[in-house]
């Protein structure tokens, strides 16, 4: 079959099983957009800004496990995607970004809308390609999907010059592909598995610490089985929430900077740590010198470079989280090694004592809406089954702390890069993947403004997203740090000249509701969630001074948490900042 490059792009997507593409047209992409016209199979979602396309594809990928696909034009089309590509890269999200390029004859000439796409994306992609010959096009697209979705997933850019999309060649989509320098393994080394099982079973104060790798590899079932077989406590990173159901009796909550007291104290006091699909990020570990001083660490990760990067590891295991946990479960079940039951029950008694401190407790109010209360009500109203996307800041932490995720792929947030503006467009991707589901975007008035134009996309495709805007008229997390560490000098963290969000939502064709009283929170949420047709923009005017607790200040250890504001309302002691 003889096809043009543009037709090959579209046909390759179909043959790859892609049902949805997020994009924005432009000069260099016109042949490809022409090939998208009047065809069935690939649905194109027109965003309002290329950053929105990348976050939407990212949200789609996080919710479904499939590879998200983006199509943009050259130059500014590409530069606008960089934030979204870097977001996906930091969180290991499979994504293929097809970027149009000026014709090969003009590359390097500073042509109109030309940018060195391969160069500018290189530091934030798993890999990228420039296709110079139409004969290489189908194979390159195949490789891109293979690389993006295998091993440690990540974004892959395919840059396609305009003349390549006009030339013709015989088309055949490759069935499979081999890359001689790339063959990620899945199984853990059997000797390491038995060493790990032995060490695990010898634990007196053990802990299981898991991250986004559990979600990406679909290992939640086997993780629960391992946790139950061992009876050990388990904590999740921000990216790993939903890895173990929040109401599981062995679950200690999230760990790290705003993790629970019990999770962080258990991390600090443990003697054996099983880390799976987590990368010992600085927001998780606090000061590395004070991190888990007595722990022997077993680290399971598909990326060898993640192992031993920040923390000394006793038993490294390279492999897929799901496969390795199955191997470990098998080894644990078969082992006859005696366990120190007495120490383990003392450990649980200690953990229960930490739990009793109720580090997520807060004082509710009848007068002013507490943000934590809104999230708890959201959980209640959606029975904990909503997809929750978020932006970045205080509202993100409150959603992570108080929603209580029952399963994987429900919590969609930018953990690594911390991208404000992620929440609304990523909700678009999730809602398109699951049209019947409740998708809530928990955001703040500062974050939501960063990609607010996507409200228009939501209207065009009738996406009934529920925007939960925790509006405290501050960049809350910035304000919190300024309160604690900059003597309350609130430099540029106040949101002045905000729009009227109700009118703003209405002007985009949606429903806007302002909620000012705690008594109205539940009713507003119920009305919004019940409305299957409309996007609801719920603008909750929340307590301006509320801070996220508990907190580990930068430079402190897990055992040095600030639990609550002190009685006189003063901030935690000043600490040196990282």
């Amino acid at each position: 079959m003889e096809l043009t490059g543009a037709q090959i792009v579209v046909q390759s997507l179909k043959d790859e099983g892609v049902d949805i593409v997020f994009g924005y047209p432009g000069g260099a992409a016109l042949h490809i957009y022409d090939a998208l016209y009047n065809q069935e199979g690939v649905r194109h979602i027109l965003v309002r800004h290329e950053q929105g396309a990348t976050h939407a594809a990212d949200g789609y990928a996080r919710a479904t496990g499939k590879t998200g696909v983006v199509l943009v034009t050259s130059g500014p089309g590409v530069t606008n995607t960089i934030t979204g590509i870097a977001t996906a890269y930091m969180d290991s999200i499979p994504m293929v970004i097809l970027t149009a390029q000026v014709p090969t004859s003009l590359i390097g000439d500073d042509a109109f809308q030309e940018v060195d796409t391969v160069g500018i994306t290189r530091p934030c992609v798993k890999h990228n390609f420039l296709v110079r010959d139409v004969k290489d096009l189908a194979l390159t697209i195949k490789k891109a999907f293979f690389i993006a979705s295998s091993g440690r997933p990540g974004p892959v850019v395919v840059d396609i010059p305009k003349d390549v999309t006009a030339e013709t060649t015989r088309y055949q989509y490759p069935k499979d592909v081999r890359i001689r320098s790339y063959a990620p393994g899945r199984k853990g080394h059997s000797k390491q598995i038995s060493r790990a099982a032995k060490l695990l079973l010898s634990g007196k104060r053990p802990i299981i610490y898991t991250g986004g790798g559990i979600i990406l590899s679909g290992a939640t079932g086997v993780l629960a089985a391992v946790v139950e077989a061992l009876g050990y406590p388990c904590t999740n990173t921000l990216m790993g929430l939903g890895g173990l159901p929040a109401d599981h009796p062995r679950f200690l909550g999230m760990l790290g900077m705003h993790g629970t007291y019990e999770a962080n104290m258990a991390m600090h006091g443990c003697d054996v740590m099983l880390a799976v699909g987590a990368r010992f990020d600085d927001r998780v570990t606090g000061d590395l010198k004070k991190f888990s001083p007595n722990a022997q660490v077993i680290h399971v990760d598909i990326d060898p470079a993640s192992i031993g990067k920040n923390v000394r590891v006793e038993v490294p295991i390279v492999g897929d989280a799901k496969v390795v946990l199955e191997q470990l479960l098998d080894a644990i079940t078969k082992s006859k090694a005696p366990r120190d039951e007495e120490s383990l029950s003392r450990w649980w008694a200690q953990i229960d004592e930490w739990r009793s401190r109720d580090s997520l407790g807060y004082v509710n109010s009848d007068e002013v809406i507490k943000p934590q209360f809104v999230i708890q009500k959201l959980h209640e109203v959606t029975q904990g089954e909503a997809f929750v996307t978020s932006d970045v800041g205080q509202h993100q932490m409150w959603a992570a702390q108080y929603y209580g995720f029952g399963g994987p792929r429900r919590w969609i947030n930018s953990g690594g890069l911390g991208t404000m503006g992620f929440g609304l467009p990523s909700a678009i991707g999730v809602q398109l993947a699951y049209p019947e589901a409740t998708v809530a975007c928990v955001t703040g008035e500062a974050s939501v403004m960063m990609c607010i134009q996507e409200l228009s996309t939501c209207k065009q495709y009738d996406l009934p997203i529920k925007i939960v805007n925790l509006n405290n008229r501050y960049m809350g997390m910035v304000r919190q740090w300024q309160e604690f560490f900059y003597d309350r000098r609130y430099s540029h963290s106040y949101m002045d000249s905000l729009p009227d969000f109700v009118e703003l939502a209405t002007s985009f064709g949606h429903v806007g509701v302002r909620v000012e009283k705690p008594a109205d929170v539940e009713g507003a949420l119920r009305e919004a969630v019940a409305a299957k047709e409309n996007l609801f923009f719920l603008d909750f005017l929340t307590d301006q001074t509320e801070n996220v607790y508990p907190m580990i200040a930068a430079g402190a250890g897990h055992n040095e948490m600030e639990l609550k504001p002190s009685a006189d309302g003063s901030a935690p002691a000043e600490r040196e900042l990282a």
């Binding site: 890999h127 690389i147 320098s181 790339y182 990326d303 060898p304 470079a305 031993g308």
Partner: protein, 163 residues
């Protein structure tokens, strides 16, 4: 710790910038880097000399192996190996210096490859410290130009870096 890494990489445009970019993005040290095509035209051979603690070197090799364009990697420093570097040097050679410099070149087993009334152009190969010693032996004020290739390395015996 000084380490000499030998790599086989895809002979593709962009492969070099991926490797150089990795070193600059992660703050690793490059002392020298040499690259040229091999007998297999789809592959380039690269020798990188770097410095760092054991943990850093481990990260460098892991991060390099993660690059799709890196096909094979060998830390030459882990075994017996040979390193060579090429030096091209232009020096003022007039009057009595002419004989003196020629003798020095002979001692270091270098070659004078170009001559005019004022200068010698000299070629010398060897391990880096031999080249250092030669440069140090010349009167510094008389040296016009020093061109060094960076280190190329190969393992001794039957250890080989190949597909």
């Amino acid at each position: 710790m000084r380490r000499t890494l030998s790599l086989l990489v895809e002979n593709e445009p962009g492969a070099l910038s991926r490797i150089a970019g990795l070193f600059s993005a992660r703050g690793y040290n490059i002392e020298s880097l040499t690259v040229a095509p091999t007998e297999d035209e789809s592959l380039s051979r690269m020798t990188i000399v770097t410095r760092g603690s054991e943990e850093i070197i481990e990260q460098i090799t892991k991060q390099l192996n993660k690059l799709i364009d890196v096909v094979r990697l060998l830390d030459l420093t882990e075994g017996r190996h040979i390193e060579r570097e090429l030096l091209l040097l232009k020096v003022r050679a007039q009057g009595a210096d002419r004989e003196e410099i020629k003798r020095l070149v002979d001692i270091f087993r270098g070659r004078i490859i170009d001559v005019d009334e004022e200068t010698y152009t000299i070629e010398l190969t060897g391990p880096g410290d031999k080249l250092d010693a030669f440069v140090d032996a010349l009167p510094a004020a008389e040296i016009y130009e020093v061109v060094r290739s960076g280190v190329s390395g190969i393992a001794r015996g039957d250890r080989a870096l190949r597909l």
